[in-house]
């Protein structure tokens, strides 16, 4: 179903408007996860599904799909962010993922932890968004370009 764009012009127009809104809401959910329900997972899944909507509606030639396809190849970047934050804690002298040991001058331990939570949530969101898109690409490689003889 990725092979062509959606035939209805209403769906295409509406999605063009809707996708940025969904993404802004996803970012809101992501960054206010410390104060509201939500956070990395939900934000990431919403980002991912907004991109999936774009793929399904605009078809394979649309710039959005092309960009998304490039993004889907960079699987693992989100985890690198997460692991890098954890690794910085190791370098700072604490245990793995001990954000209180992040070496940021002028910040007390609770603020460092708060910062660590935001950074790692970004990592989670990026990874989940990218992977969701990647799984959808894989699952839709069925007819045509996939091999049919196993």
């Amino acid at each position: 179903m990725i092979e062509s764009r959606h035939e209805s012009v209403i769906v295409r127009r509406l999605s063009r408007r809707l996708i940025p809104l969904v993404q802004i809401f996803a970012l809101y959910i992501l960054f206010f996860g410390q104060y509201n329900p939500g956070g990395g997972f939900v934000g990431g899944v919403m980002l991912g599904t907004s991109l999936i909507l774009g793929i399904l509606v605009f078809g394979p030639t649309d710039p959005l799909t092309v960009v998304t396809k490039r993004i889907a190849e960079t699987d693992g970047v989100g985890l690198m962010i997460f692991a890098a934050v954890g690794g910085l804690c190791l370098i700072g002298g604490g245990q793995f993922l001990n954000y209180a040991e992040l070496e940021i001058p002028g910040l007390a331990a609770p603020s460092r932890r708060s910062l660590g939570i935001i950074l790692t949530q970004i990592g989670v969101a990026v990874d989940i968004a990218v992977t969701a898109v990647s799984i959808v690409f894989s699952l839709s490689v069925m007819s045509g370009n996939g091999d049919s003889h196993g």
């Binding site: 329900p37 932890r113 708060s114 894989s138």
Partner: protein, 176 residues
């Protein structure tokens, strides 16, 4: 605790679950499963688990349904016909035993909503009391998820990452 709001939800939950199982058309049954997830999210919101409800609504009712539907569209199954055969005796018997074990084990669980239960008194008060001071994060669930038990979160992200790789490995043979 009164169940007046929850009972209808639970009944709807079981009805939608049954619908997803019984309905013959695969696409319909997948969509009914989406509504099952949605009712589940409502039940959890009622239980006070707003974060879980949110994730279930987005992941269960959203992403899981997207995966199901894309698979169904991609493979366009011709045999959505579902046969029914008499249930194997062994499966029924072991299921009954399992059910008895579940009910037996439930006897010594704390009563529902008991704020003096071990689950609510041993470790969890620490999180509630200290998370704001420790992490400046009012949402205690986020604080535990991303800080106190951050390793679990890292690893579940790895689970998702692995799933992405697995789908790639199994389905995309024409990679450059």
């Amino acid at each position: 605790m009164t169940y007046s709001f929850e009972l209808p939800l639970l009944i709807l939950l079981i009805l939608t679950a049954g619908g997803a199982i019984v309905v013959k058309d695969l696409l319909s049954s997948v969509l009914i499963l989406g509504s099952y997830s949605f009712f589940l999210a409502l039940v959890w919101a009622w239980l006070g688990a707003v974060d879980v409800a949110f994730v279930e609504a987005v992941v269960g009712a959203g992403l899981a349904t997207v995966f199901f539907v894309i698979t169904l569209f991609g493979i366009d199954p011709r045999d959505t016909l579902i046969r029914r055969t008499p249930p194997p005796i062994a499966a029924v018997v072991s299921l009954l035993l399992l059910g008895l074990l579940l009910l037996y084990a439930a006897n010594d669980l704390a009563a529902f909503g008991d704020s003096a239960s071990p689950a609510s008194t041993h470790v969890s008060p620490f999180y509630l009391e200290n998370s704001l001071a420790d992490t400046r994060t009012p949402n205690v669930v986020t604080a535990i998820l991303m800080d106190y038990r951050a390793l679990d979160t890292l690893m579940e992200t790895v689970v998702i990452f692995t799933a992405g790789l697995v789908c790639w490995l199994l389905l995309r043979r024409d990679a450059k």
